[in-house]
């Protein structure tokens, strides 16, 4: 799983590179576009994901101690928090759609002369949070599979490897969001 996660770092890394290049090219427009994102919702979502990672850690610990019920409960909590995150994300995207900030023919960002760089910001926003959300959906699938198996009592203190590596994957998806949140929501926020 560690090797796979390294490939995931390279995978997201390409998009991070594009972000770096274009933010360096258009710092002001990026800052302006960033301020149009709702930082409170973003922060709340961040807290949700961090809590979900916490419950996952509790689940892994429960598995190590052979406590089946605690394991199942914690996986359920992790799943629920994950779904909360995805739901909030969907809400945010809908808001963006209403504001005409979705790249495409009806894109319009008020307050800038050149629409291009603003569209670039939002393209990267949707591409990267979208890719992240996709990984969360996969993660939810993994959690569901772990949940089913843990209810069936498949994981003991001796054999809890799938819980371990499932947890690794979940933490990784969480960490990607930890990077995405400041890069998209907090540009020059401290200057306001």
């Amino acid at each position: 799983m560690w090797v796979f996660l390294i490939t995931e770092v390279m995978f997201f890394g390409g998009m991070f590179l594009a972000y770096i290049v274009y933010r360096a090219a258009y710092p002001d427009i990026f800052a302006l576009a960033s301020s149009s994102l709702n930082v409170y919702i973003g922060a709340a979502n961040t807290a949700v994901l961090l809590c979900s990672s916490f419950t996952m850690v509790l689940g892994v610990r429960a598995a190590q101690l052979g406590r089946q019920k605690a394991l199942a409960i914690n996986i359920v909590l992790t799943l629920l928090l994950g779904f909360v995150f995805l739901g909030v994300k969907a809400f945010e995207w809908r808001e963006k759609f209403i504001e005409h900030h979705v790249p495409g023919p009806s894109f319009h960002f008020a307050g800038v002369a050149m629409q291009g760089p603003a569209q670039l910001f939002f393209s990267l926003y949707f591409a990267m949070t979208g890719l992240h959300a996709l990984h969360m959906v996969v993660g939810a699938g993994i959690m569901t599979w772990l949940l089913i198996n843990s209810i069936r009592g498949k994981y003991t203190a001796e054999y809890m490897t799938p819980v371990d590596i499932g947890g690794l994957y979940w933490h990784f998806v969480d960490i990607i969001w930890i990077f995405l949140f400041p890069l998209f929501y907090l540009i020059d926020r401290h200057l306001k």
Partner: protein
């Protein structure tokens, strides 16, 4: 050699029959054969495109095909050959088959992921084939923006999706190999007792795992650009087409090391066996594989010398590109030193190995020519570059693949191929190859651009020579298809170790039993230990 006993022994080929036993197998040896069939098909499709290209280039006018069709021909030749033949070739066939045996394991770490890798290659290939049958892509295999994202009206997305899926095949194979080599070596098989073939594949796997995701994300960005017009590579919307080139080559340069490192691993095995001597400087050869993997990630900018990249960056990349040649040179010197005072014999695999050393050296040295900023400005996008990379990929990698295929053929099939036909084919390939591609160095230097099918008449002589060479080369590639297939049914039975080589794979029967070893070996000797000459074993316990 007892024939009757060997015929009745249960091995991985006869332990179960039927389509399902192949399509749902978890046996790394069967999966290797599945890959072999698949990549052979892709090779001949890519070869068909090459044939059309070379026939068109017989005349200076564009008479066989229109320019649009010609664009599609060279694009699809490149895509088929690189993504669907060369990148999987040695790792997925010989690597899959041999690595577990070479380290004394019963299978790879994740057999089902191994099977999934094969299916991903097939699905990706089918996507690309569909795109080709529907009309093809005309962007060049490098699908530079903004042509590929904005202006091309060919099947870019379908082809790109095919490459995307095949990329995951590559990543998973690399992941499998890394975990296997780390965790499943037999007792006594320390890192520095592993065959250099395994070291080469370890380095290759590291590149596959680190590099392929970058082209995956690049393809996603091209997809988004093409479908949603987001402007990431479009200057009109604030984007930068050179960003694509950076992202693309960040993978595609290491990709060429994915293609050559396994070949070098094969050559180490061949040189050692047919000189009956340990590879000179084993540690250096192992280390140079890792060095190539690392340095290979630092040189992508040498594809961007004329792309508006700064001269300063060009200087740095040029210097690093010279540096990356050093580990390759170390290998060539060590192979040569291995031959010194060795007991050299000229069986078919050794002929291929010698061919490799000669042609790879030429290809590698011309790589230094193009790594030099000044020369590259003159020869970039000419046939010089085409000749350079074909010398390495065809003269190097494919010759090593054929050499390895012949070397391990008795292990894989339990039969020997007809030696004289095989030697003849090797010579035909060598001659045909040089007649095809050496004129292209001259053509390129004189100014013949690549990807052009209309050219000044004074280049025709060299083009005709190249096409004639290609015809000979084609014969050389078709012959093994025939005699290898023939030998599978009618060739003489081979024992466990017909070449009296070292290596754990030779200590088990030919073909091997399902679980490779009846008893897992314990390793006490160094690699390539020819001090006690392995006898030709007639039966295996």
């Amino acid at each position: 050699m007892t024939t009757a006993v060997a015929k009745e022994q249960e091995n991985y080929l006869n332990n179960s029959y039927g389509l399902k036993s192949w399509l749902l197998t978890r046996d790394h040896k069967r999966i290797a054969l599945l890959y072999m069939a698949t990549i052979t098909l892709f090779f001949f499709i890519g070869g068909a495109f090459a044939t059309l290209i070379r026939v068109e280039l017989l005349t200076p006018q564009g008479d066989l095909v229109s320019s649009d069709i010609y664009n599609r021909l060279f694009t699809m030749h490149g895509i088929m050959m690189i993504f669907f033949f060369l990148i999987p070739s040695i790792p997925a066939t010989l690597g899959n088959f041999l690595i577990p045996m070479m380290i004394g394991a019963r299978d790879l770490a994740f057999p089902r992921i191994n099977l999934l890798s094969w299916y991903l290659l097939v699905v990706g290939g089918l996507f690309a084939l569909f795109a080709m049958l529907a009309g093809g892509v005309d962007t060049g295999w490098t699908f530079y923006t903004p042509y590929s994202t904005t202006y091309s009206n060919s099947w870019v997305i379908a082809t790109a999706l095919g490459i995307f899926v095949a990329g995951f095949s590559s990543i998973l194979t690399g992941l499998n190999f890394i975990v296997t080599i780390h965790r499943m070596r037999a007792p006594g098989m320390t890192w520095f007792r592993m065959p250099l073939f395994v070291w080469a594949h370890y380095a290759t796997s590291v590149i596959q795992v680190l590099g392929t995701p970058v082209i995956a994300v690049t393809i996603i960005l091209v997809f988004c650009e093409r479908v949603f017009h987001i402007g990431i590579f479009d200057p009109a919307l604030g984007g930068d087409p050179v960003l694509f080139q950076h992202l693309f080559w960040f993978y595609s340069h290491p990709a060429v090391y994915i293609m050559i490192l396994p070949a070098m691993g094969v050559i180490s095995e061949l040189i050692s066996t047919f000189s009956r001597k340990a590879i000179f400087g084993y540690h250096f050869v192992a280390g140079s594989s890792m060095a190539i993997a690392v340095f290979g990630f630092l040189v992508w900018g040498h594809h961007l010398f004329v792309s508006t990249q700064s001269v300063y960056a060009g200087l740095v990349f040029s210097f690093l590109s010279y540096a990356v040649a050093i580990p390759s040179a170390i290998k060539v010197f060590n192979w040569t030193a291995t031959l010194y005072k060795g007991s050299v014999s000229f069986e078919t695999p050794m002929l291929y190995a010698f061919g490799f050393i000669g042609l790879f050296t030429i290809g590698g040295l011309t790589g230094l020519f193009v790594a030099s900023l000044g020369i590259d400005v003159h020869v970039t996008d000419t046939y010089f570059v085409v000749a350079h990379f074909h010398y390495i990929m065809v003269g190097g990698a494919i010759m090593a693949f054929l050499g390895g295929l012949h070397f391990w053929w008795p292990k894989i099939t339990g039969r020997m191929y007809p030696e004289q036909w095989a030697r003849l084919s090797a010579v035909i390939i060598f001659v045909g190859f040089n007649f095809t591609f050496f004129p292209q160095f001259i053509l390129g230097y004189l100014g013949m651009p690549r990807r052009y099918h209309v050219y000044p008449p004074e280049f025709q002589v060299l083009h005709v020579m190249s096409t004639l060479g290609a015809s000979v080369l084609a014969v050389g590639y078709l012959l093994p298809m025939v005699y290898l297939a023939w030998s599978w049914k009618y060739g003489p039975l081979a024992g466990p170790n017909p070449y009296r080589a070292t290596g754990l794979e030779w200590k088990t029967a030919s073909p091997p039993p399902l679980h490779n070893f009846d008893r897992l070996p314990v390793v006490t000797r160094e690699a390539y230990d020819y001090s006690t000459v392995p006898e030709e074993v007639t039966s295996v316990g």
